[in-house]
Amino acid sequence: MATEGDEKPPPAEVLAEIKAVVARAKSGDAKAVPRLREFLARFPLLWQRYGDLAAQAEVAWVNLAAGTDLHLKESLLRFAAEQRALLTRPSASPIEKLLVDRAVACWLQLQYFSAIEAGAIAGKDAPKVLHFWAERQVVAQRLFESALASLVAAQKLLPVAAPTCAAPPPEHPPTPASGSETVIVYEDSPFDLHNRLGSYFNPSPESTPPSTGSRRVGLVDGGHTRRKGVRHVTPCPADRVGTDARPAVPRSAGA
């Protein structure tokens, strides 16, 4: 018995025996199982295709939609393959591939029921029949939306495997020029995160507003941005440093 499987499909003479063994196994004959296991180990294509629920569902919907029209069948299969390629990210995880297969199968189901419903309307079928197909179309639509929602959620939450050539790490924000009066203090700023306040805390040198004498001090800690406060520093004459900068108002002025 060959333990390593052949990627080639079984030859015609073996195929007849496989069919007979499979038929026996399907009818519940336990004596056929050892021979069936031999065949499955020798020809992995058998279980890879038959065990793939998504592929089975896809082929079943294509067969149902196309019927005897082989041109439509081939076109649908190619379109499904293209959709699968478009939806799958490079180096996607197996669970993501499964979700893509599910979305494609649900898309085929939806297209089938849409076409059937349109045909029933055009053929002026009975209202009861129209209602049946419309209900099935609604259910298919809901399933497709659910499949897409799962796929999008998984793609959003689960990272793909890192590429072989890693991108350079994001640089820290440029520190403002030493002569500028706006001083921003950062600690471990999460610039790789999408932060709508990022431009506020990371002004580019050219977009830095002219000096207004305000002094901003920010602290970024683990993704939570906290402003320590904004202190307005009014330039004082050198002779008044260390003294009360408020202009002296005579007490008798308000009286």
Binding site: L53, L64, C106, L143, A147, A154, L157
Partner: protein, 81 residues
């Protein structure tokens, strides 16, 4: 069903038979559709259920959670890792 005698009764009986035949044809059409879709419906249902369970298990194992079927969120406190 007895509808009486005479021309009017004959017409009523024919209309009744026609309606019965139409209803029977619709019933047969729907039954054929259900039988035709049975296998593929079963496959799609199995696929949907298996995928949903797998995704949920995978996300839980990755440290995500969701409250009352809401959106999946990553636990910030490290629980579930």
């Amino acid at each position: 069903m007895y509808v009486g005698t005479g021309a009017n009764a004959q017409a009523a009986a024919q209309a009744l038979a026609r309606r019965h035949a139409e209803r029977e044809a619709i019933r047969r059409t729907l039954h054929e559709a259900v039988v035709r879709l049975q296998t593929v419906d079963g496959l799609t249902t199995d696929l949907n259920m298996a995928t949903a369970v797998l995704l949920e298990a995978y996300l839980l194992a990755e440290g995500f959670h969701r409250h009352n079927f809401g959106p999946w969120r990553r636990r910030r406190d490290g629980h579930g890792r």
